[in-house]
Symmetry: C2
Subunit: 346 residues, 2 copies
Amino acid sequence: MSKAERIRIYDVARVAGVSVATASKALNDTGRMTEETRKRVKQTAAALGFRPNAMARALTQQRSFTIGLLTNDTYGRFTLPVMAGVSEALVDQGVSVFLCGIEDDAALAKLHLDAMLDKQVDGIIATGKRIDRRLPVDLSHLSVPVVYAFTEGPDDAVTLVSDDGQGAREATQWLANIGRRTLVHVTGPESFASVSARAGAFRAVAGQGAQVLHGSWSEAWGHEAIAKLWNGDAPRPDGIFCGNDQIARGVVDALRERGVDVPGDVSVIGFDNWEIVAAATRPPLTTVDMNLKEIGREAGRLILELAEGKPVEPGIRKLPCKLVLRQSCGGDAIAARNQGEALQES
Amino acid sequence: MSKAERIRIYDVARVAGVSVATASKALNDTGRMTEETRKRVKQTAAALGFRPNAMARALTQQRSFTIGLLTNDTYGRFTLPVMAGVSEALVDQGVSVFLCGIEDDAALAKLHLDAMLDKQVDGIIATGKRIDRRLPVDLSHLSVPVVYAFTEGPDDAVTLVSDDGQGAREATQWLANIGRRTLVHVTGPESFASVSARAGAFRAVAGQGAQVLHGSWSEAWGHEAIAKLWNGDAPRPDGIFCGNDQIARGVVDALRERGVDVPGDVSVIGFDNWEIVAAATRPPLTTVDMNLKEIGREAGRLILELAEGKPVEPGIRKLPCKLVLRQSCGGDAIAARNQGEALQES
DNA sequence: CAATATTGAGAAAAGGGTTTTCCATTGAGG
DNA sequence: CCTCAATGGAAAACCCTTTTCTCAATATTG
């Protein structure tokens, strides 16, 4: 595939019968020359398999064509989709991505950060497992631009997050649309910003009196919540919106064990669209996808613009979530009708 | 943290009152000078926060202090632990890692590979989601060293894999040790190399007549397998070793739904130690951990040696798996005794 | 005491291949 | 014949660290 001796622009120039200066200009579409010369050089370069040495290029341009992705999400559930998006947005531009997992270790973070800065990265994307938790390292006075994706940065930073409110609103609205009347939101710890954003949106649609249960982000909590709801005196819900897919899976399993039919008797919606959980649930979960890959793509685009010196308006950009329909919700007829309407509207 | 203007070795030299040559030698512990001078330079460098420019350094040394990690494991279940290990082994040496997810797209793979080669990576680690599946790109004639981790490479390559046979042997032996007599292996498609390795080891311990059921890598297959085993005429097993944690979870769920007690009536062991599945199963899964992080660390160490020009014996290195005890297996008393013996032996 | 060896430190070049600047040549038109 | 535009080339710039080579100063030896 690649050969031991790399082709240099010098070789291209020699074979094409021009100087390296002309070759360079031809390949970069700069300078002036006959179209014929430019074409010939390009063809020669392609024929020889010439690829400019990025390191040498970095000398004259002020760019290394390299960016760093810093994350504290060890398990990678959130980071990987973001990373995939970033990568996708940048690989065409010849930009490569350093991935640094720093957990919550400040010393480790500094080690990675320094290593990246030493390598003259053109920019850094910070990402995490939780929108409202900062990374254990200060990125605010670096000499390179920083974009925060799915993690909190300083107020004057460029930040990308999912629109939790909108996602929760759509999910709740969906439950209402398919005829569910008694809605409950089973979610994670109150201390999470995304939890209150989602709960707020849920209440805005389901009514301020609608019940919200807080617990851990686990399947176990889903089981427990169903026990509470079914053993208590309050009217039992026929629509349950969960704070994440793990809780939703716990909820669905618990309902099945009680002989409650999902989606016949109760509709359940999750959050995250964590494929491995959502698809394995019986029935598979209808859930809210945060479009993390799109967040990654956007982060990639933005860091690129910043690296090129273009101005980017600071502030928080919310990207919309998307409801992914599977079988835990039912109401297919109504769903179909609504989708039809939606199509006509657009 | 970092300042707009980077400190160069020139600044260190000026402040310390020496030449750049002396400064360089002092900081790299080369050359000759009084210990006092060396110390003074080092202190000055530390005080100024000097960090050598890796790119400039790469010019004189033949190394970029950068390696590439190529993976086709989009979901990252296998890649992330490997990546964590690689990173851990290399960050102290100031080596950063480009992560490239290439799915199974040859064109994308080439794009990423070229981008990395353009950036003069010191080496490449190839990793995947399946030991016996090659990446869709040929890495065999590159000008940089390559280490294969958890994916198949050419025969003369340096390859690291988990010891599936040993892992399966330990798991099966464990079931036997705690008194289980009728053992079954419920695993993935026969076409996987790891499946036959594990099945072979299972049979070696459980007896050549022991049943092995092949299916998909899913929870659904776990349910289905239990249905087959319990509805059939053959004697029902009291010990089930599963090919991965998802199957094991399906098995455990199916048994619970049939009123079979795990681990009271039947012991179940999984494979992968995929935390999110193993810990959420009720009861939590005893399972085989492939030590992927250690594979990553070893891959990092090896690629470093190769990058430094040291010779590394080619061939396949098998790293041992480790049985992780949770509650799906039972036999705690026996387990405790056996562990005691193991301790005495060692 | 002279001759040689050793030590400490600096000046300058190398290291890399691309890009960019500026200049030279050619041919056409006035 | 002179000027100008168009094309392409020679050489410097780019960046900062490392390394080599040299030299002066001091120590050691005969």
